[in-house]
């Protein structure tokens, strides 16, 4: 019996020794991120195919958010702003060997437009191919159209990728890498595509692994199993910063932590009540304690989004005493338990949030304490993210806490248009400022400039249809064995195509 047992133990040891000879496969670049691959459809998982340089869009954006040529080498718009003409790059091949034509691009965009997404909200009347160019006709001028075409849901697949009903059968794109294996939801493998129209990438094989748990992602970076790890949790960030085998990147992104306020709520309809809530928030304290970086939001977007950040507006301040004074002005008096009451009504709000981003419920608990300081009771309901949209729709929402990405396209105008002109599921609720709506609509048509943008920011700052809390930073850990990796504030690329193995 002892013999049997010892041979089993010996076998296990040999197995361990065999596998101990380095586990990160040579010559394969391993990317780890939290996003799961839901399928081949750009609408659900296009962001992953863009990040992995598998698929491409007509228009690209650089780190400053400036649009650059992608599959379209140039574009023009007619005098009246109603007709856009995109000239395609020549000699582009899809991964199945068929050439990229204006007809193929028009088909891909038509499929994208038929599904939920940004493109659906653009005033497009026709997408056609004419004389080898892609032509998009609009019902009214729409300046952010090229920016919309840079979004992941507008990526271009070959006609053979789509089934009759518009569903996507497989990934057939034009990127520098070709998918060799797609194991939804967690893994994809890719290799350099020989027929790529641009410069051939230095790294010939890459994998993508979706890892939902932040601790596991950090451990993968630390153990050297992954070369590029996207999105680190604050605790791991501190630990990895000291590790010699990885370099930690971080960048300010146009994503803000916001409190959405129901403008028709009896306690919140007066702008002074919203200002009081804003004054009760110690933004620096919250950002430092929960996000672990000093990024309290004293206006809606950070300085890195230069066009939409105004240096002239009065920054949102932390002053609980002023907040109490404002609420007293509105007729609220402290009840026996310290919570304010008015005409027999308690100042009690339900805050809706969701746990998909782990910092949200934590931030909600901190805000609950801060609001309690000024006598406002908050009940936290951490539920599914869609409940924010549902409660917006049926009017039952009091306040909601969420993280809003203003740069699904590199130009935040699209988000302002859908969220604040005048209301949106992830923006203002029961708020209507005709001046703001007019400003945004003008900007969307391509009229107006920096002065108009600053005025729009000023209106948001004084009216507070949403209360900014913090600005996000994106983080990544990159192995020192890799050079050329980037962390894009617009979360489009990781620079895979330009990466190479360090000497």
């Amino acid at each position: 019996m002892f013999r049997l047992f010892s041979s089993a133990a010996g076998g296990a040891l040999i197995l361990a020794a065999m596998t101990g000879t380095g586990h990160a496969t040579e010559g394969v670049l391993d990317v780890v991120a939290p996003f799961e691959i839901k399928g081949a459809d750009p609408v659900t998982s296009g962001n992953i195919f863009i990040k992995m340089d598998v698929a491409e869009t007509l228009v690209n954006a650089d780190a400053e958010g400036q649009l650059t040529p992608g599959l379209a080498r140039a574009w023009t718009v007619s005098e009246d702003g109603l007709e856009w003409r995109f000239q395609l790059q020549p000699d582009v091949l899809f991964h199945d060997g068929t050439p990229l034509t204006a007809e193929a691009a028009a088909l891909a965009l038509s499929h994208a437009r038929a599904k939920p997404g940004l493109l659906e909200t653009a005033p497009i009347t026709e997408i056609a191919d004419e004389e080898g160019a892609l032509v998009i006709r609009l019902s009214k001028p729409f300046a952010p159209l090229p920016a919309f075409l840079s979004e992941y849901r507008s990526l271009i697949y070959a006609p053979a990728a789509y089934a009759e009903d518009g569903s996507v059968r497989e990934v057939i794109a034009t990127g520098a890498y070709r998918v060799t294996r797609l194991d939804a939801p967690l893994r994809l493998e890719a290799e350099a595509f020989d027929g790529y129209w641009g410069e051939a990438p230095a790294v010939t094989r890459a994998t993508y692994q979706a890892v939902g748990r932040a601790e596991t992602r950090a451990l993968l970076a630390e153990s050297g199993d992954a070369d590029y790890v996207f999105n680190l949790d604050p605790a791991s960030l501190a630990r990895l910063s000291g590790a010699p085998q990885v370099e930690v990147l971080s960048v300010s992104v146009p994503r803000s932590l916001l409190i959405k306020v129901n403008g028709a709520h009896p306690a919140l309809a007066d702008v002074r009540a919203r200002q009081a809530l804003s004054l009760a928030i110690d933004r620096e304290g919250l950002a430092q304690a929960i996000l672990r970086y000093p990024a309290g939001a004293d206006q809606i977007l950070p300085k890195s989004v230069s066009d939409w950040h105004s240096d002239s507006v009065e920054p949102l301040a932390f002053d609980p005493e002023a907040a109490k004074a404002l609420l007293a002005e509105l007729g609220w008096t402290a009840g026996p338990d310290g919570i304010l009451t008015r005409d027999g009504q308690r100042f009690s709000l339900t805050l809706t949030t969701y746990p998909d981003r782990p910092e949200l419920p934590l931030s909600a608990a901190v805000l609950q304490q801060m609001f309690a300081e000024i006598g406002v009771e908050v009940v936290i309901d951490s539920t599914n993210s869609s409940e924010v949209a549902v409660r917006h729709g049926d009017g039952t929402l009091d306040i909601a806490l969420f993280a809003r990405n203003f740069a699904l396209v590199p130009d935040p105008i699209g988000t302002f248009l859908t969220d604040y002109a005048p209301t949106g599921d992830w923006g203002a609720m029961n708020w209507d400022n005709p001046e703001f709506t007019a400003l945004i609509e003008d900007l969307a048509r391509g009229e107006g400039g920096q002065a108009e943008r600053e005025r729009a920011i000023e209106i948001l700052q004084t009216e507070l249809p949403v209360i900014p809390v913090a600005w996000y930073q994106q983080t990544a850990a990159v192995s020192t064995g890799v050079a050329g990796a980037v962390l894009d504030p617009y979360e489009r690329t990781i620079g895979l195509r330009q990466m190479r193995w360090a000497e």
Binding site: A12, T19, G20, H23, T44, P116, D183, P185, L220, A403
Partner: protein, 319 residues
């Protein structure tokens, strides 16, 4: 009717009953869950940055969610009879393909864990049971209690830090190559072996203390012959029955382990399907899991009959 056929027929009718009950219950439960189904599906598909009222409306139109629930259940039952599980409302892929991939990955992991625990647990338990009260027996009691008390997610993290980060021997997480099996399987196996070692030890101690075992020794059998002829077979039924039970317990442990090691398994899939109100996926998964348990119980019954012929003989004598 022969008892073997009878047993199989009994299990087959059980399987049909399980299928119907499971289908009905999951359907009712999914209907009873709070929240608007179209919004939940849209959130599951497009993520929190892109879910809004328009996306939810589009989902409602596409999937015909306004239909009465009874009609939807009828369609599902009819499809099931034609062995068509439908397509996932989140990914659009056939449910059968998704389950094959994900249940397959879970079964591989569970199988590896069970095999590993079988290599560790029962041999140690048998050795301890043969010398009940000896040093090995006492050490085993302490070690197995300690291993069983550590939660599996903690065990997983300890192993990653130790084996992957400190020693750099194995990948910390991931899927795709055989080395990826070792850590998650070992995490599960240690917890299983802790208990199966105790079960094997108690069974062995009882057998070793029995009169027939002592008689075997008197008639001149060596310790090895004694164990093979009178020991292993007698503790076999206990062990196999317990193994079946462990496999069921594994399904629970696998959910936690899959999350930590980023393993594309059924636990992970089921949790996401429930959040995203992916009814076809939930029904398909739960149905296959239910049928899996029936199949497992059948296998345990048949193995136990094969190891211990006494029940079989008695049954045939009765018929």
């Amino acid at each position: 009717m022969r008892p073997l056929t009878q047993a199989i027929l009994y299990r087959a009718s059980q399987a049909v009953l399980v299928a119907l009950l499971v289908g009905m219950l999951t359907f009712l439960m999914m209907q009873a869950l709070p929240g608007d189904m179209a919004f939940r599906i849209a959130a599951g598909r497009y993520g929190y940055d892109a879910v809004n009222a328009e996306a939810a409306e589009a989902v409602r139109r596409e999937l015909g969610l306004d239909r009465p629930a009874l009609a939807a259940f009828g369609t599902w039952l009819w499809d099931l009879m034609r062995l068509d599980f439908g397509t996932s409302v989140i990914s659009g892929a056939p449910v059968m393909d998704e389950i094959r991939h994900q249940l397959g990955a879970s079964l591989q992991l569970a199988g590896a864990a069970l095999a590993l625990s079988f290599l560790i647990g029962p041999p140690v338990g048998i050795l301890a049971g043969l010398r009940a009260g000896g040093w090995l027996d006492r050490t085993l009691l302490v070690v197995s209690t300690a291993l069983r008390s550590v939660p599996q997610f903690l065990m997983g993290l300890i192993l990653i830090v130790l084996v992957s980060i400190q020693l750099g021997w194995l990948p910390a997480a991931g899927y795709g190559r055989p080395v990826h099996f070792v850590l998650p399987a070992l995490t599960l196996a240690l917890g299983l072996a802790a208990v199966s070692a105790r079960v094997a030890r108690d069974a062995m101690a009882a057998v070793a203390a029995s009169p027939y075992y002592a008689f075997g020794r008197w008639k001149g059998l060596s310790e090895g012959q004694l164990l093979r002829r009178h020991g292993l077979r007698n503790i076999g039924v206990t062990l196999v029955t317990y193994l079946g039970l462990q496999f069921a317990m594994l399904v629970e442990g696998v959910v936690v382990i899959e999350a930590i090691f980023s393993w594309p398994g059924i636990g992970h899939a089921l949790v996401h399907a429930i959040f995203g109100r992916d009814v076809p996926m939930v029904q398909g998964t739960v149905l296959l899991l239910g049928l899996g348990f029936v199949a497992l119980n059948t296998a345990v019954d048949l193995t136990a009959r094969w190891i211990d012929p006494r029940g079989r003989g008695a049954g045939e004598a009765r018929s």
